[in-house]
């Protein structure tokens, strides 16, 4: 699957973008001298990174590498200690966040019905009740929850809850979809469904950044891979090249299944 990805970044260190126009796309993440320091510890420290604005970018790395923090930083949920982040030509902030959607590792669902969880997000946008209902049905069908629209959301299984969270994320028609290990410890059917929806969204011009530490999943999804280790960007490049011949020791060890400390 990753081999078939039509668009791949050309370079690794700087400028994944192919043309100057790509830099304007809302999915064109660029950051420089990004650092996050908490209680004297440097948790994220990335000198420079420019992501391909269209591909599925998989963020890999061992536990504690700073993957989740990276995602929160670029989504604007936590401010960096220093550095500069932009999407397209817009500095990271409320404006960029409103065009993005994030799926968390543990789905946060409202204490309401499945349909009400979707409607909560849809209500922000204009639209009649009938339009919202149609959109809600469409989204629930897409994630295989059409039959459970009126159930309490919190009685769904773990996999169903995460699918609902994904449907809610897609409800805003985000330009960028950020996923933080969304399928960790879910049932295989849900994993497959989530992966398919993510790939379909990517095909529909949504930039996807997917955090995982499942190598198999990374191979299935990735157009390009960023490997983090100890908060540092160890390498970034096309998935084919990364999996065939990782350049860093840490990534080599990680891919071969050794424990990376």
């Amino acid at each position: 699957m990753p081999d078939a990805a039509p668009l791949m970044p050309r370079k690794t260190s700087d400028g994944g973008s192919k043309t100057p126009r790509d830099r304007l796309l809302p999915g064109a993440l660029r950051l420089e001298r990004l650092a996050l320091q908490v209680a004297g510890r440097l948790l994220v420290n990335i000198e420079k990174l420019t992501l391909d604005p269209r591909s599925v970018t998989v963020i890999m790395g061992p536990n504690g590498a700073g993957k989740s923090l990276f995602l929160r930083l670029v989504h604007g949920l936590i401010p960096p200690t220093q550095g500069w982040i932009s999407w397209g030509e817009v500095a990271c902030g409320e404006a960029t966040r409103s065009t993005q959607a994030m799926v968390f590792q543990k789905p946060v669902l409202l204490r309401r019905s499945v349909a009400a969880n979707i409607d909560f997000v849809l209500r922000r946008r204009a639209g009649t009740k009938a339009e919202r209902r149609a959109r809600c049905d469409e989204l629930l069908t897409r994630v295989g929850l059409a039959g459970q629209a009126q159930q309490p959301a919190r009685l769904l299984s773990g996999g169903e809850q995460q699918r609902l969270a994904l449907a809610r994320a897609l409800a805003t028609r985000p330009k960028v979809l950020l996923l933080d290990e969304p399928t960790a410890s879910l049932d295989p059917a849900s994993v497959q469904m989530i992966e398919q929806i993510v790939l379909a969204s990517s095909a529909e011009q949504t930039k996807v950044i997917f955090v995982t530490h499942d190598v198999g999943q990374a191979r299935r999804l990735a157009g390009d891979v960023a490997f983090l280790h100890h908060g540092q960007l160890v390498e970034y490049g096309p998935a084919t090249a990364f999996f065939a011949n990782p350049s860093s020791e840490a990534a080599k060890a990680y891919l071969s299944g050794r424990i990376v400390l």
């Binding site: 989504h75 959607a101 946060v108 409202l110 204490r111 309401r112 919190r154 009685l155």
Partner: protein, 235 residues
């Protein structure tokens, strides 16, 4: 001892016969306390939600202040409201003293801080769970507050019941601003105090039994609600 048994007999007799005076008093008690509860929830829930959603400067002090207002002695609140509503007071021109409205005001002042402080505690836990997701979705503060109140509904009903229990059982504030006037401002607690001192133990006990039953039903209701909430995983 005979008095004791006799009093119970009289009490049940009054309740069973549907004594008009008795039920007038019970009715007024419920009206005043429910009205005060409604106002307190309208004031207390948004304040609780606001204290959770907005991390403004001095928030800690405000929370400490609201918390300490929970422990205000009802008699003192009665006195303060009395001063405000008495003819020489700033709102004396309204002529509200010794009216059910004055009692509603006093009970509202008494339990609104309780509702606010307890709902803040209930909503704080919810906010910790929702905060990041709401910020990711770009939910405004107002909508976040509303969503917290709606999603915390089961916890908030328990809060409201606690407030109601306090209001309906309170005597100090309502006796000062209401005056315990027969057929006008006499409620269960003030009537019990009066009838006991008069020696009409039957009436006092009948009111006491009803008051206790209300308190117990309120608690049972809270428990039942919690069970329903848990079954739907909404707790």
């Amino acid at each position: 001892m005979q008095d004791f048994a006799g009093a119970f007999g009289l009490a049940f007799g009054l309740i069973a016969s549907g004594d008009a005076d008795l039920f007038e008093i019970v009715g007024l008690s419920m009206r005043v306390s429910l009205m005060a509860l409604l106002l307190s929830c309208l004031i207390g829930f948004p304040i609780g939600a606001l204290l959770v959603v907005r991390k403004f400067f001095g928030r800690g002090i405000v929370i400490a202040l609201v918390n300490s207002m929970m422990g205000f002695p009802p008699v003192v609140i009665g006195l303060l409201i009395y001063l405000v509503l008495s003819r020489a007071g700033p709102m004396g021109w309204l002529g509200l003293l010794y009216s059910p409205t004055a009692m509603i005001i006093a009970q509202t002042v008494l339990i609104a801080p309780i509702v606010a402080a307890l709902s803040r505690q209930v909503l704080e836990a919810l906010q910790a769970e929702y905060d990041e997701q709401f910020r990711s979705l770009g939910i405004s503060r107002g909508r976040a507050m509303l969503a917290l109140i709606v999603d915390g509904r089961y916890g908030l009903v328990t809060v409201a019941l606690a407030g109601f229990g306090r209001a309906v059982a309170e005597v100090g504030a309502v006796i000062i601003v209401g005056g315990n006037i027969e057929h006008l401002t006499r409620v269960m607690t003030t009537a019990i105090a009066l009838e006991t001192s008069k020696g009409d133990l039957g009436m006092a006990l009948a009111l006491g039994i009803i008051l206790m039953s209300i308190a117990i039903s309120v608690n049972l209701g809270a428990g039942a609600l919690r069970a329903i909430a848990e079954r739907q995983a909404y707790a």
